[in-house]
Amino acid sequence: MATLDPPAAVAERAASGLRPSEYAEIRRRLGREPTRAEIGMFGVMWSEHCAYKHSRAALRRLPTRGRGLLRGPGEHAGAVAVGDGWAAVFKMESHNHPSAVAPFHGAATGVGGIIRDILAMGARPIALLDSLRFGPPDDPRIARLVDGVVSGIAAYGNSIGVPTVGGELACAPCYRDNPLVNVACLGLVREERIATARASGPGNAVVYLGARTGRDGMHGAAFASAELGSDPQDRSAVQMGDPFTGKLLVEATLEALATGAVVALQDMGAAGLTCALAEMAARGGVGMDIDLRLVPRREAGMTPEEVLLSESQERMLLVVRAGREDDVLRIARRWGLAAAVIGRVTADPRLVVRDADRTVAALDPRALTEAPEYAPPAVPPAYLREARRADLGALPPVAPEEALLALLASPAIASKRWVFRQYDHMVQTNTVVPPGADAAVLRLKDAPPRGLALTVDGNGRYCYLDPYVGGMLAVLEAAQNLACVGARALAVTDCLNFASPERPDVYWTFQQAVDGIARACEALEVPVVGGNVSFYNEAGQGIYPTPVVAMLGHLDDVRRHAASGWTREGDLIVLLGAGGAALDGSEYLAELHGVVAGRLCEPDLLASARAVQSVREAVSRGLLASAHDCAEGGLAVAVAECCIAGGCGATVSLRAGSTAPPEAAGRGGPAERLFGEGIGRFVVSLRPDAVPPLLALARRLSIPAQVIGTTGGERLVVGVDGAAGRPWIDLPVASLRSAWEAGGLRGRAAAGGARDDAVG
C-alpha cells in the first residue's frame, strides 16, 4: 500500500473548526497526527450539523417506540407501517443558513436534500411540507427573501414532481436576519423493500451515482454549525440545486434498487462523500478502499480534500453486489447520470482513501462517526421572569371587530394561497385535501381506501415564553389538525431550530422543548421517528426557540375526512373540548399590542388526547359536517376561518360571563374569550340530528361539548347569551374574507421579479 500523506499543517488544523480538545482526541484515536484530508474529514464529521454533539443526549429523551414502527432513528428517516404491506418514510430538515444568504437556491437545495433522505430509504417521495419563519414582511428586503424562498421551494418541488401539500408560515422580528426554512418529506415503500445504509459484503462495489462533483457547497456542514456572519467564507458554502438531475436520480435510484443489486445506499448530503463513506462503513462495521480519481468531476484540478468535502447536490452512494455493477451503471447511463465504481467494501474496518498512488486518509470509520458528546450547562434565561408577567389590564382597548379583522390579516393567520398556489400540490394525483385545510390528506393509490394525513406546526412565541409547554403545544396542535381531517396520529418528525447551544440559557430552552415534545408524544402514543437539529440561528438578535413538529396520520377510509368550512345552512355549531383560553403569548397580544408576554398554562395531556380522539372518531363516523381546531387567534378566528372556508355565515352565542366592556383586554373579559388561545378546543358543525350521538361520544370520553350556534346567512355574529345591545362581532363574511386575503398579500408587491435563479 502507498504511504500515508504527511500530517496536516497547523494552519489546516486551525481551519477545520475543531476545538483543541477534539484535536487531541483525534490524535488519541488515530495514534498519530491526522493527515490534511483526515483533518478536513473530522472537521465536517464532527461539526454540530453532522455530529449532534450538543443535542444527542437530549434527543434520547424522545420516545421512539410505537405501534407499527418499522425503523426508528439511526437510519436516514423513520418508517412506519401504513397498512397492506406499505411503509411510510418521513423526515424533516432545516436549510436555514443557506436560505438566509441565497434564498432561492438555499430553499431549493433544502427540498432536494430531504427528498434524497427519503430516497435513501428506498422510498418514492410522495409529499413535501414546508415550515417557514421570516421577519415582518412589510420590509421590502424581507418580502424579497420570502419570495426567493417560496420560489426556490416551488422550483425544486414542482420540477422534481413531488407535491408540496402543506406547511406553515409565520413572521416575527427575531427571524429578520435568520429565517427558518424547514422542509419535511414523506415517501412510500413496500415494507420488505426498505433500504439500509449499512454497507456490507467485502468485495462489493462502492458506486457513485448522480451529478458530478464540483467545488460548490464546500464546507456546508460547517457553515450550518456556526453563526451567520459577514464572513466571506459563508459565500463558498452556497450549494446549487438542479431539480432536473434530482428527478433523474430518483428514478435511477429506485430502478437500481428494484434490480436487487444494491446492498446499501446513502445520499451525499452534508459533508458529502466523506459522510456517506464513513457512515455507511461504520454502520456495517466494515471498511472501504476508495480511489478519489474515479469520482466523476465537474471541474479540473480539484484537490482530494475538495472531492471529499464537496457538497455538490444530487448525488448518491451505493454499495452494489460484486459482479452486478453493470446493472447499476447501465441504469445510470440510460438516465444520463454520471456513475462510477469508486472503490470496494473491505472486511477490515478501515476507511482507506487514495488519490491515485497517494493515500490521503486511512482510519477506522467509527472514529469519524462517533464524535464527542457534550452536555453543556443549562440555565433558565433571565428574560423569562419579566416576559411571563403580562399586565392585561393596562392594555389600551380595542374593539373586537377591529381586532378580528387585524388578526385575520396577520401573516400567521392570513391566507397562504399566494404561497401554495405556487406549489404544485397535486402532482402524483394523490392529493385529496389540498393545502388550506387543517391537515393535508393523501390517498394511498396502492392500498385503497386508505389515506394519510400530514401537518406541520410550531409556535416560536409560545416556546420563547415556555419552551417546555411550547414543545407540548406543537405536538398537540399537530394531533388536533390531524383529528380535524379524521386521521389517527402515526408518527412525528421534528426540526429543532435554536440559537447557540453553547449559551446556557439557549441550551436550557432546547432541553425544555425536547422534554415537552417527548411528554406530549408519550401521551399521544406517537413515536418520534426522526428529525433534525439546527443550532446557531442567531444572526441579529437570535431567534425564538422554534421547535417545529410534523405529524403523519392515517385514515382507514380516505373518503371519510372532514374540512373546516361550513357549507350548509342550519347546521349546529358545537364547541368541543375543555381547553381554557388565555391571552398570554397570543397572536392578539403580539399583533394588536406588540406584546410578547404571559404565562402559558400547562395542558392536561390526557384530556387533550381524549379531545383529539373524540374529534377523530366523530369525523370517521361521519357525524360532522366540518371540524376545525382553535389555534392562533382563538375561538373568534376559528369561527371566522370556518365562515371563510365554506362561504357561509353563522350566529354564535357564548355563555354569559364577565360584564367587562367588549373592548377591554382583562382576564376573563371579551377579548380573552374571543381571542384567547389554548389547546384542546374544536369548533365542529353538524346536522341537528347528529348532535345527540356527538354528545354521547363526548360524554363517553369526558369531553365537554356545548352547542354555541348555528350556521347560515352571510354574516358572522358573535354575542353573549341573553345580552342586550349590539353583539361583540357582527361582520359580513365577505369582509372577513377580504381582510384574510389582503393579509396574505402583505408586502408582496415589494418582492419584484429578479431572483437568483439562473434563467428567466
Binding site: 422534481i160 438516465w335 402532482v427 394525483t429
Partner: protein
C-alpha cells in the same frame, strides 16, 4: 387499443397519466422512451406534463429536439392522434406541431389550482364525448402557460376553429378574472385544424376521480377511448402548424 405515453427525462406526470388510462379508464397504455424513433402501432400518443430536460431554456424547447417528438410529424401525417398536456403542449408548440408560443404567466409565478374550461369544439378525438359549451373543472399547474400568437396566426386560429378549450368561470363565461395566466383569447386548449393534435394546459389526469375533487378530466380520456374504439380515423394530413 394502445396509448403511448412519452417519457422524457424530467417528465413527472407520465405515471399519473398512465394511472388514469390504465386504472381509471381500464384501457391499455405503455410508456414510450424519448429516444424511440418510431411511434408506429400506437392508437394515440400523449406527451405528459413535467419539466422535460429541466425546462431550462424555454419550457418544452429541449424536448422538442428529441427523437420521439421528431417522430410525431410522420406519425400524425399517417393519421395518428396526439395529446400534449401542459409541458406536452409546450413541447408541441416548440416543435411547431401547433402554432404560437407560451410565455411566463401574467402573474410571473407558477400557478396550481382548479380552473374551469369551456368546450369550444366537440368534433376532435379528445372532445367527441363532450357537448359544445360544456364546462369542465380541471386543475392547471404551470409557470409558462400564457399562450401567444401573432395577429396573423390569431386570425387563422379562428378560421380553422383551432381553439378547443377556453378558460371560463363556473358558469361558462369567458372573463378576464377567469383567465389564470393571461393567455391570448383565454386559450387553454388548442388543436391542429383537423383536431388530430391537441395541446392542453390543464391536467385532465389530475381530475379523473371523484376522490381528487373532480372527475371531469376523465371525459377527455373517455372521448379519446371512444374515438379509437369506434375506429374513426382522421384523413392523412399535412402536418403544418396550420
Amino acid at each position: 387499443m394502445e396509448i403511448g405515453i412519452v417519457v422524457f427525462p424530467g417528465s413527472n406526470c407520465d405515471a399519473d397519466t398512465y394511472h388514469a388510462i390504465r386504472e381509471v379508464l381500464g384501457r391499455a397504455a405503455q410508456y414510450v422512451w424519448h429516444e424511440e424513433r418510431t411511434l408506429r402501432g400506437l392508437d394515440a400518443v400523449i406527451l405528459p406534463g413535467g419539466f422535460s430536460y429541466g425546462d431550462y431554456l424555454r419550457a418544452g424547447a429541449i424536448a422538442a429536439t428529441s427523437p420521439a417528438v421528431r417522430a410525431l410529424r410522420p406519425y400524425v401525417a399517417q393519421g395518428g392522434i396526439v395529446l400534449g398536456i401542459c409541458n406536452g403542449f409546450q413541447v408541441l408548440l416548440e416543435a411547431g406541431l401547433l402554432p404560437g408560443a407560451m410565455q411566463p404567466n401574467a402573474g410571473g409565478r407558477f400557478r396550481c389550482e382548479f380552473v374551469h374550461l369551456r368546450t369550444e369544439r366537440s368534433d376532435t378525438p379528445f372532445t367527441c364525448g363532450l357537448a359544445p359549451g360544456q364546462v369542465l373543472r380541471i386543475p392547471i399547474a404551470h409557470a409558462e402557460g400564457r399562450y401567444y400568437a401573432d395577429p396573423g396566426t390569431r386570425v387563422l386560429l379562428a378560421a380553422h376553429r383551432q381553439i378547443v378549450f377556453r378558460y371560463c368561470d363556473a358558469q361558462g363565461a369567458v372573463t378576464p378574472d377567469a383567465n389564470p395566466n393571461g393567455a391570448m383569447d383565454a386559450i387553454a386548449g388548442l388543436a391542429s385544424p383537423s383536431g388530430a393534435v391537441l395541446g392542453l394546459m390543464p391536467h385532465p389526469e389530475r381530475a379523473s376521480e371523484d376522490v381528487l375533487g373532480s372527475a371531469d378530466g376523465r371525459l377527455i380520456f373517455e372521448s379519446l377511448a371512444r374515438w379509437i374504439y369506434s375506429g374513426r380515423r382522421l384523413p392523412a394530413q399535412s402536418v403544418e402548424a396550420h
